[in-house]
Symmetry: C2
DNA sequence: ACCTACATATCGAAT
DNA sequence: ATTCGATGTGTAGGT
């Protein structure tokens, strides 16, 4: 990994065009040829970048660029696509290289799978008398997150999201259409469950006769004591 | 901006939990307190991070951590949420600070807004005799990208995407359903326009009587001479 | 401040 | 290889 602090301008040409005027930035060149251009603010997304695999080629700037004060020009070319990053370096303020080795990678916990496990264990959250048929109930168009039976014996399909968006309602609608063609299951009603449900999604769900359920992950996790001693 | 190369382990606790085992990584601390943890591979997304605004607090490691070889411990606390990043530093291999100043920001060209402007200006791309009713035609469920009138006086709703996916067809379908309830507009037919249309999306669109149109952005920009002198 | 839609999204699993 | 779904999505633009 090479770290360069430089006064530079950057142009990206590929799926779109993007231009960064002259300013001081961090240029991060990774071992796989990928390049990140970061400013001293914003979030983790670089101002400009090139995804790996890529190659960095150092060229002599054109006459007009030299006159303007460009010391070096880097051309970062994607190996896969016709995407290119052109970095004009006016002044290098720092330059260091470091050997990092291979990273063992990230271990995660608390994603949708955990939410699903918790809801399956606490199926009464859906309503009194509910019983679990199964998680990841497989259909031709994909797995239904949770299939359950309500107090009256009716089948309920649950689509589970962290963020309840309109896409999730569409997904559940497709499942319900399919499940309701099965005479052994029909009629199947739908429950759209999420930590947060967007107003638009709620409107669409209600319009289609789908019940909305907002989940409190922290409360559900509080009930399940195994999750408190993960690391 | 501070750049540190260190042998470290990292734990994130917040919306989820994530753990990075001991390895050499880049720690990038920005002026707004945000921190990025990068390895020498992957794309622009850090292995772990803290979004701004945040504060970095250096603490003395606990007894057990000291025995294990932890020299320093950084606690990065989000100012907004109860999100925390804990970085255990076993060895610092590099440490430098740099003053970058404020970045002038990125200038983009070729995003959906540009496509929409060009298609509105060159509405004949849809067919001979087409006239523009308006861009961003507002409805209760969101804005229709372009509403036009064809040679026979019929109304046409255009959904525009850079990449034509199945979601875009669903979106247009919802708009068409709504628009066709309006007797002043009905019947409204749909056109799904994108630089690239996925085969699945095309099949679904055709199945629903929606016309597909592949756009050549470069050609459309070529017609519009103002766009040739953007940079 | 909240909500909505777009993104050079990235990333991983399943097909 | 490609598609699909999740993301600690981020980001910009509107109301």
């Amino acid at each position: 990994m090479r770290l360069v602090i430089a006064r530079c301008s950057v142009d990206y040409v590929g799926r779109l065009k993007a231009h960064l005027p002259l300013a001081i930035r961090l240029l991060l060149i990774k071992a796989d040829g990928s390049v990140l251009v970061h400013s001293d603010g914003g979030s983790y997304k670089p101002l400009n970048w090139m995804s790996p695999p890529a190659t960095v080629r150092r060229t002599t700037p054109a006459e007009t660029d030299l006159e303007e004060g460009v010391q070096e020009q880097w051309i970062v070319q994607s190996a896969k696509a016709d995407d290119r990053l052109i970095i004009n370096i006016y002044e290098q303020l720092h330059d260091s290289s470091h050997d990092l080795g291979v990273d063992p990678g990230l271990i995660k916990d608390g994603v949708e799978a955990d939410l699903q496990r918790l809801l399956a264990e606490q199926i009464h959250t859906l309503g009194d008398g509910f019983t679990l048929i199964r998680r990841e109930y497989f259909t031709a168009i994909g797995p239904v997150d949770i299939l359950a039976r309500d107090a009256t014996g009716g089948t309920v399909a649950v689509e589970l999201k962290r963020r309840g968006d309109i896409d999730g309602v569409e997904q559940l609608t497709r499942y319900l259409e399919l499940l309701n063609r099965d005479p052994l299951l029909a009629p199947v009603r739908g429950v759209f469950a999420a930590q947060q449900i967007k107003p638009q999604a709620r409107v669409l769900a209600v319009d289609r006769g789908i019940e909305c359920l907002t989940l409190d992950y922290d409360a559900m996790r509080g009930v399940d004591d195994t999750s408190t001693r993960l690391f």
